[in-house]
Amino acid sequence: MDDAPLLEIKDLHVHFHVYGGILRVLDGVSFVVHRGEKVGLVGETGCGKTTTMKATLRVLPMPPARIPGGQILFQGQDLLKMRDDRLRRVRGRGISMIFQDPTAALNPVFTIGQQIRAVVRHSTEKRLSRSQIHDRMIQPIREVALPDPERMLGSYPIQLSGGMRQRVCIAMALVADPKLLIADEPGTSLDVTIQDQILRLLGRLVEEKDLSVILITHTLGIVRQLTDRVYVMYAGTMVEVAGTEELFRNPLHPYTHGLMEAVPRLTGGGVSDGIPGRIPNYLHPPPGCRFHPRCPHVMDVCRQEKPGFYRVSGDHEVACFLYRDKERSA
């Protein structure tokens, strides 16, 4: 692995200014993706996974969103300070994204061909001939194993099934040969057998093209299947990061632990009660550790101070005071 990370998010804060006040949605999120690495970002609805990625691509609506602090370094350059025209070259060619709902991601009134052509044109400064454009359109459609590519180009999204639409979105994301692919819940809106196909396709393409990937999901099983390293998010903060195998073998943060317990297992044995309480209101987030009102191990310090990241072993770090004294220097 290269020593300089491909993407490094440092202490990112995102606030939304709304009628009732300021929603402190991201509260100091840090995140690293190395070249060729597959990183998972796990958390439940509303924990800020998508906000983090939208901030990275600078597609958050501002206002109401504001970024009062933090850096997002992509190949060493701060995306938050980048000029718009240069940023446009990063989007698509540097970083591209696959969204959860392929139906909403495609424009219903244009054919697949028209939509891919726009991406192909945008993917390079060079003037391409008609046949070059055509080749660059067909190539990614073949790669995602869509049947009959020529006919596919003339189809409208409504003529395709959900699984095929997601394949089209993946093809579009790959047109410009990005370095980093952000996949936001790529299979969630699909049936489980179709989701399995999409995830295996994604896994294969990532291997073949040596892409770096951020996989955002709330399904722990998917992360286990596809990633090397996992970040766990809760209520706008990172709570734990570890190698995938290590995390599933030895989840340390009480939230991660509760989350894993809550997943019904194929081996049976009943379902745990899950985690009591609900995610906090971002208008008045709890002081100290944002998880403390729901935590079974809460201590006085948790209510007052925000925990730092404590390294417990090689690449396993956890933001919880329970592990402050167990910290080891790696």
């Binding site: 609805t45 489980v192 399995d196 297992r265 194929l266 081996t267 044995g269 379902v271 899950g274």
Partner: protein
């Protein structure tokens, strides 16, 4: 155990349009196309299927939102569709909890008003306020919730109110149509355990509809798998997860993302998901699964297989298991 609800060759077809110029032919969706099974008193019967398999149509027909095209549903020897309008006494017995509590609760009514409606209709002689309080207590909500509106509740709390509403009529049979799939996993457990506790306390029978097989493993006593309007496999839950016979069942199980090696070992290894779910307007000939089936034979595209009991209580509809 006695059967409480019996489906006999139930079909529900919807006409969605017409095609042809000179001779207009109706276009039909065969949402449910001949299913037969019986739910036993006190059990949790799991109905599993992907979108478009017809599992929700089964639910809606059972509660009387649709009338069957052909076939019958019997509730303790009473035909649910004998009368033009289902009698109140029968409606009271069969209740439903919908998937999305955000849209199944009226946003303009308080929790107390939502719960009072079925109470007034089905239990007019009782004290509504007292019963409302009791219902809230049953689903572990405090009395403060009475005057709240649904939009101020979390997803889990809304679903608790929906469960309380279903139980307001003192039913014996409750249909749970994906009761937790709109919720986060950390909330799901609490709702599931509440549902299971209520079943023990009030001796309820459940028809539990879900697409989540891992969840099914933990709640159901028996499981049926639906594909394009038909049941392809029914078995006792333990047996079902140990030896799934139907190639579609194996494909479903092989597709589940799991958290541990122990679970990985339970998944059929050779089966890999392929193909798309066909449109229910254009169901393939013969066995509707044959286009995706890794083990399809010549006969599969021509003849629709019949349900065969392979072992006691374990039936499969597949040509690999011919009737003897």
């Amino acid at each position: 155990m006695a059967d409480i609800l019996t489906f006999n060759d139930l079909k529900k077809h919807f006409v969605i349009g017409q095609e042809g110029f000179l001779r207009r032919e109706p276009i039909t969706v065969k949402a449910v196309d001949g299913i037969s099974f019986a739910v036993q008193e006190g059990e949790t019967f799991g109905l599993v299927g992907e979108s478009g398999s017809g599992k929700s149509t089964v639910a809606y027909t059972t509660i009387g939102m649709y009338r069957p095209t052909t076939g019958t549903i019997r509730f303790r020897d009473k035909d649910l569709f004998a009368d033009k309008k289902r009698p109140l006494a029968l409606r009271k017995q069969i209740q439903i909890v919908f998937q999305d509590p955000g849209s199944s609760l009226n946003p303009r009514r308080t929790v107390a008003q939502i719960l009072a409606l079925p109470l007034r209709l089905h239990r007019p002689q009782e004290n509504v306020l007292q019963q409302t309080a009791q219902l809230l207590d049953m689903v572990e909500l405090t009395l403060e919730y009475m005057h709240k509106y649904p939009q101020t509740l979390s997803g889990g709390e809304k679903q608790m109110v929906a469960i309380a509403r279903a139980l307001a009529t003192e039913p014996s049979f409750v249909i749970l149509d994906e009761p937790t799939s709109a919720l986060d996993v950390s909330i799901q457990g609490k709702i599931i355990n509440l549902i299971m506790r209520l079943q023990r306390e009030f001796n309820l029978t459940y028809l539990f509809i879900t697409h989540d097989l891992s969840l099914m493993r933990n709640v159901a006593s028996r499981v049926a798998i639906m594909y394009l309007g038909k049941i392809c496999e029914i078995a006792d839950a333990v047996e079902f997860f140990r030896t799934p016979y139907h190639p579609y069942t194996q494909m479903l199980l092989a597709s589940i993302p799991v958290l541990s090696e122990e679970e990985e070992a339970l998944k059929p290894r050779k089966t890999v998901s392929r193909g798309e779910i066909p449109s229910p307007v254009n169901i393939p000939s013969g066995c509707s699964f044959h286009l995706r089936c890794p083990r399809h034979m010549d006969i599969c595209s021509v003849v629709d297989p019949v349900m065969v009991e392979v072992e006691a209580g374990h039936s499969v509809r597949c040509h690999l298991f011919p009737p003897s």
